[in-house]
Symmetry: C2
Subunit: 200 residues, 2 copies
């Protein structure tokens, strides 16, 4: 087993505390929920670093790693992000109540000289930040944290709130905290409805 | 613990065989690699169903689950997919050598009447299929399977190869098999290079 960095520290600590099993992958995948309600408990730097590091282990096109994570704890900035996510009729009030908000961005400059630049900018940047976000959500869940994937927001308002340079495109807002209440799993379409064999 | 479906069956079997620990989440996340070399061993239906089910537990906008998975075992179709991924100078020969190829598509019709349709089609469809793909890759890794995320291909050629209807957009090609040789981890940018606090 190689050096696990921040994740390794968390794993070692959990092993000491609980003498054994951490969260199993399939369990983490199936048991994760979108959490919109958090306790007052602070998220520690160790927890934050572990989930951020987990995010960076996502795959990316040619290992370009275009992701950038902006971590917000200041209530006035979180309020601005909440407003950026409320520009439509859908008020995502839970954003405002988070202890921490992580904004996942992509650095468009990373693909500046890439031979398939157009596809990279319209597809790869979104895919690799999404894969990183999924890692982050799974890692948060394994540590008892709750998070929610928010992509319905005004990118311009988020850019303004975070003073993002032009090349930094915000793609996901993740409110984060210690889970207060967990909802039941939302039903999934059965495999026979979403899997085709050999073509259509 | 709720009913774990196909994943549950796999977990139960592994527990019986190995008397204990399955793959831990952080380990799965950090130890996954892009695998481009597979053995001749067949991928079983149980393994395939477990990783497909893991994919469907990804989050999606309003639980729309726009993902569709096309599973290909026929060598002549796999050959066509390989050619679709070789339209540029980059020949992704490993696609041709896979035992199974899974093509992850998004059903654009799912967001037909969605209030934020444009954002859904250009962003949510890509994000939710990417999150599903990341789950799938992690699950494959936990079961000793190797896979690789390929997004550089001609969508038109894939559509033709799989006879996809107009509303079905192919976004990821995943060659899959039992891992033959594993590469070293590609280096990741350190957290201080990809994390900002409170803004830019």
């Amino acid at each position: 087993m190689q050096d696990f960095g921040f994740c390794g520290k968390v794993i070692a600590e959990l092993k000491q505390n609980q003498s054994g099993l951490l969260m199993e992958l399939f369990e983490a995948i199936k048991d994760r929920r979108s959490i919109r309600s958090c306790t007052e408990e602070e998220v520690t730097d160790e927890e934050l670093n572990a989930i951020l590091e987990a995010a960076t282990w996502a795959p990316s096109a040619c290992n370009k790693q275009s992701w950038r994570f902006v971590v917000i704890r200041k209530p006035e900035t979180i309020e601005k992000l909440y407003r950026a996510a409320s520009y439509s009729t859908q008020h995502q009030i839970f954003v405002k109540k988070a202890k921490i908000v992580i904004v996942v961005c992509t650095d468009l400059n990373v693909y500046k000289t890439f031979p398939h630049r157009e596809r990279a900018l319209s597809l790869f940047t979104i895919q690799e930040t999404a894969a990183a976000t999924q890692n982050l959500l799974l890692a948060a869940h394994a540590l008892g944290l709750g998070a929610c994937w928010v992509s319905l927001f005004s990118e311009d308002q988020v850019k303004e709130a975070l003073n993002l340079p032009k090349n930094m495109r915000p793609l996901v807002i993740i409110p984060l905290g210690h889970t207060k209440s967990k909802t039941n799993p939302k039903p999934r379409k059965p495999l026979e409805d979403v899997v085709n064999y050999e073509g259509f």
